[in-house]
């Protein structure tokens, strides 16, 4: 019969005949599943890293900034003294009605022990910056060398679409400058003059704001981001902006 199964010549379905790749992916899946049950937190840390690591191969290829300026906020160290805001305002001529960096306060009344957290926020110098896409005149742009989201003030028409586009409320219109004002990691006021850190990072008495080059494995920011002992996260990850400001505790 034509449809009869040829039992003698049928390939064995044991391990020897299983392709290598298939075996490997099966093992991986097993590890993953075990991971979920053995310690959900471990998995979540690993997946977090996937999301926030700015130096995965594809990220490096797509956003090849050198130096790749970045900041890690050690959130639980912040005591809301606001010296960073003060230093920032002085260094960058920030208007008294605006700010480039801010400290948010989060209260968790049901928490045991500490109930109050302070979260430092600033421009996240996003790799996929929504403001840069939205600006009609390229008045705000990604610096191709260092990845900082810059302002070409003279081109700003003041439509404020970037203020709305920004997921981090990092922009405001500065009357005196006749343009949008925002954090540029103190590029014009400090980095371009040879200083190594931003004004806020230097002013912080608690070492909350670690500033550095994410493309340099010897830098503190690189080390803080590339580890799995402590959680590392970014804010508003769902917006897809791929920010360069990371958060951690400890």
């Amino acid at each position: 019969m034509k449809n009869k199964i040829d039992l003698d010549n049928l390939r064995k379905e044991n391990l020897e005949s299983l392709p290598d790749m298939e075996r490997r992916s099966f093992l991986k899946m097993g590890l993953l599943v075990t991971g979920v049950f053995a310690g959900g937190s471990m998995l979540s840390v690993i997946s977090n890293i996937d999301k926030v690591f700015a130096s995965k191969a594809e990220m490096k290829e797509k956003y090849p900034y050198k130096p790749h300026y970045s900041m890690v906020i050690r959130q639980d160290r912040c005591i809301d003294c606001e010296r960073c805001i003060e230093a920032c305002s002085k260094t960058n001529n920030v208007a008294e009605y605006g700010y480039r960096t801010n400290i948010l306060e989060k209260v968790t009344p049901d928490a045991i022990g500490q109930k109050r957290e302070f979260i430092a926020v600033l421009c996240n110098q996003c790799n996929n910056a929504p403001c840069v896409r939205a600006c009609p005149t390229k008045a705000t742009y990604k610096d191709q060398t260092n990845g900082i989201v810059m302002m070409a003030q003279e081109k700003c028409i003041g439509c404020k679409v970037c203020v709305l586009a920004c997921p981090y409320n990092a922009r405001y219109f500065n009357e005196e400058k006749h343009a949008i004002d925002k954090c540029n990691f103190c590029y014009d006021s400090r980095l371009s003059k040879g200083y190594e850190r931003t004004a806020c990072s230097e002013a912080c008495p608690a070492g909350v704001r670690v500033f550095g080059d994410l493309s340099n494995p010897d830098s503190d920011v690189y080390k803080l981001v590339h580890q799995i002992q402590r959680p590392v996260w970014v804010l508003r990850e769902e917006s897809g902006a791929k920010p360069n400001v990371f958060y951690t505790k400890g």
Partner: protein, 416 residues
Amino acid sequence: MANGYKTLRASTVVTGVAKSLDASFFAEWASVVRDLLSGSKSFYLMILLGAAIVYFAAMGGLDAMRMGYRHAYAVTREIPWGILISTYIFFVVTSTGLCIVSSIGHVFGVKNFMPIASRAVFLSIVTIMAGFTVIFFEIENPFRMAIYNLISPNLTSNIWWMGTLYGAYMVFMIVEFVMLLLKQHRFAMYAGLLGLVSGIVAHSNLGAIFAMLHGREYWYGPYLPVYFIASAIMSGCATIILFTWVAYKASNREMEEPMKKSMEAIGKLCTMMIAVLMFFTSWKLITGSVAGGGKVEAIRAMMAGPYAMNFWVFEVGMGMVIPFGLFLMSKWKDMKMMAVATFMMMVAIFIMRYDLVLIGQIVPSWHELGVSDYPQLLSYTPSLHEFAVVLGGMGMVAISFMLGEKVFKGHKSEDH
């Protein structure tokens, strides 16, 4: 009629235009001046009133410029777009809608839509100009826009596309109107087609400005660019019905039979578009009610929060349900009833734009983080300066409409 032209060449346009510029043409235009001087007392009174509004609005706008918009307008860092943006949208939605409705007759040859073409094209030019005027007083550096839009374009920016295409759109519409006056209907048709295409693309880009802000849940998604086109058609129908009724009423003229037929056809299209908008609005609410945190918050503000009255009374009641009923009752023949319906719609559409712009901003961007620095919902109330500019835009449209009726003799020249 200039039907003999096979291809559209510059030389044919020139000869066509030259042909129209004969003695009778100038005689006709000389009579315009006479007409302008022969208006009734109430006509001049209305013009005077409109002029006064525009004058005070201009003073208000200039005063705001002098003070700085940060002091004059109620917009903030968290709510940077207020009533001026929504008024701009209101005007350009109306303009695009009028262009679409006029094109049904003029570009696509549907007879019942022809009698309104001239008035619709004229009003579409007037409303886009009013929109540009309002946005001139909204943007902080409007003069830079003219320069850098040209020499530093960002092709990924919806605002760039919208601004550029609306600029082109206005030129096409003006050319179309001039060609209509010169009775060069074939050229008018081409200009109308170009105006239609650029207007629609510009308008959906206006929707996309909001729809592509990926940090703003309430706006984000493909909904708005499509919705904007649908609601433009509805606005266009409502506007032309209302203004045609006012034009006939004010000049004590009996509506001609073709115009009555035209009103009936446009009334029916308007009714259908209301139904379409009902679907859009219903599904926005229903899908939004199961969305992420920020969007649910915004939808709640609209249904049962600070924007509930705007939504239920104006958007739903005056914008959709009541006019829908009035249209059905009028059987699209009772002009007075249709006028009432469309007047209500115009008011409601203005509020619709306002809600669309504001509700997208009232949920603070740190909502999900649960920080205590911001209230649950941010609030915004327009300032006097903002109201002044809004009124100025409306005054501009009113004056231009009245003068247009006189100068273009009630847009009667649709004898094709």
